[in-house]
């Protein structure tokens, strides 16, 4: 019989969790590089500058109102009693993190993780609305996302809210499951990206008079592919920290989380490369990069629950999904999304959520992360798929209309789009007064006939 490691002490969970959270900025750096590489050189500096501003605004807004409204299981919350069932719908904490002991307690670690992950969610619309979104407007829109939309939905899933309790209240499996944020971070970010693309419209020259899209290639594929490598490290940290804090796994089981994350990304990039090789004769680098990130996005929800073979399959489907939907949305839905963010984060996130209901899950009941005993169940309980569908229905039926309406309202007061005539010179010159690559002559419409 092989020797057993001692049961996880709270301090061990705490130390692992802090370490994993410190990896998360690499995911933001990777996504920033992907967004910048997939946009044209005339807006490269604007893209990176917007990333920094968005991260700053997201962390600040989350600090002011976000954590108070998101909360954490065990902290005060507003509840409704409906036919004898408690529906927790909003955290009732203090603004400015008052009352949260920043000493390594689970709530404080959740606050730290969320201050970074809300920035990750805010980077998603930045990629979709690249080259035409004003800096001031994207900061204000991020404040709405980090201060209102994100915490509200995250409370329902992670803060002890009604979605997470669907199992206890209505017998739907173990309730809505999402360990690493396929829904709370990725799908919320992806749906915000969709709203922004609807509101801003396509880039100048993207569509001709017949509505046919033109190719406006990104300016640096090396940025994009290196960004993919960085996202893997950051995602492993995100999924592992999320699994300890929200899925209550032992620190040792983060090995499973990391294996699942890597396998899902691997399956996705291989599927995307193979499909584009089959369709176009050569593998497409930008679609393969999109496939990689889509695999990571889809891995998040089930990373702590599904076996590795299922994670690989989740990745393969995610990679296939993204190769078809990016072009389809551009050609048939008129969505000009330079980074493919809607397909990657919204659709990839939804696929990740549903996959938890499709595959057998091992669910930790109770909690072990901070020394509380835990029971490990076998295959996921019945009703799990219905709980996951209710989560997706909430994203489409509540989060999307809310985020669209709030951004539409913002657009009435602060025009969000760079004037089309200024787009020709690029967002760098219009917003920052200088280009990212001043030694090169760019800024011609070399790829655009219109």
């Amino acid at each position: 019989m092989s020797p057993q490691l001692p049961a996880a002490a709270p301090e061990l969970s705490q130390a692992f969790c802090i370490l994993f959270i410190f990896l998360l900025p690499l995911a933001l750096a990777g996504l920033a590089l992907i967004n910048t590489g997939l946009s044209r050189s005339r807006s490269a500096a604007h893209s990176m500058m917007a990333t920094l501003c968005v991260m700053g605004v997201a962390a600040s807004a989350y600090f002011v109102t976000g954590f108070a409204w998101q909360g954490y299981p065990g902290l005060p919350a507003h509840t409704l009693s409906i036919f004898g069932k408690e529906w927790s719908w909003l955290g009732a904490g203090n603004f400015f993190l008052r009352g949260v002991a920043l000493n390594g307690s689970p709530a404080s670690l959740a606050a730290l993780l969320q201050m970074l992950s809300v920035g990750l969610a805010a980077l998603v619309p930045l990629g979709a609305a690249a080259e035409r979104w004003r800096l001031r407007a994207c900061c204000l829109s991020t404040a709405i996302l980090a201060g209102i939309t994100y915490p509200l939905f995250a409370h329902w899933v992670w803060g002890g809210g009604w979605l997470g309790r669907l199992g206890q209240n209505y017998g739907l499996g173990a309730g809505f499951l999402d360990a690493g944020g396929s829904s709370t971070i990725q799908a919320v970010g992806g749906l915000t990206a969709l709203s922004m693309v609807w509101l801003l419209g396509p880039r100048r020259g993207k569509y001709n008079l017949e509505g046919m899209p033109a190719a406006l290639p990104g300016h640096n594929t090396v940025y994009v592919l290196f960004g993919c490598v960085l996202t893997l490290v950051g995602w492993m940290g995100l999924n592992a920290a999320g699994s300890i804090l929200f899925a209550h796994i032992e620190p040792g089981r983060t090995v499973l989380v990391a294996v699942n994350t890597l396998l899902s990304a691997s399956g996705a990039v291989l599927a995307a490369a193979a499909i584009t090789r089959y369709r176009f004769g050569k593998p497409d680098a930008s679609l393969s990069a999109n496939g990689w990130v889509c695999g990571l996005v889809a891995s998040s929800a089930g990373c702590a629950y599904v076996p590795p073979a299922a994670a690989l399959l989740i990745g393969l489907v995610a990679g296939a999904l993204v190769t078809f939907t990016v072009a389809w949305m551009e050609a048939h839905l008129g969505l000009d999304d330079p980074a493919g963010a809607i397909s990657v984060h919204a659709l990839g996130g939804v696929w990740g959520i549903l996959a938890v209901g499709l595959f057998p899950c091992t669910v930790a009941v109770g909690g072990v992360a901070f020394g509380i005993p835990v029971a490990i169940q076998g295959p996921g309980p019945s009703g799990q798929m219905l709980a996951q569908i209710v989560g997706v229905a909430t994203l489409v039926g509540f989060v999307l209309p809310l985020t669209y309406s709030l951004n539409w309202l913002l657009n009435r007061f602060v025009p969000q789009r760079i004037p089309p005539e200024e787009e020709r010179h690029g967002a760098d010159l219009y917003e920052l007064g200088a280009g990212a690559y001043p030694e090169f002559m760019t800024h011609t419409d070399e790829f655009s006939q219109w």
């Binding site: 669907l166 569509y207 839905l333 219905l386 229905a393 909430t394 489409v396 039926g397 509540f398």
Partner: protein, 59 residues
């Protein structure tokens, strides 16, 4: 059409919530949740189409 599409999405969501709260049979619950999701998808399609028509109108 745009506003109708936008309003249909939360309407579908309310059907889903109502199914959870009021119905107990697994089949009935599944059916009503599916119906709610269907209304949401219809709203999404309507909203997307209206955006597309507006874009083409501008062109």
């Amino acid at each position: 059409m745009k506003v109708t599409g936008l309003l249909m999405m939360p309407s579908g969501w309310f059907i889903v919530l109502t199914a959870l709260i009021l119905l107990r049979g697994i089949l009935a619950q599944d059916l009503f949740v599916a119906a709610g999701a269907g209304v949401e998808i219809l709203g999404l399609v309507l909203f997307t189409r209206s955006n597309l028509m507006i874009k083409r109108g501008h062109e």
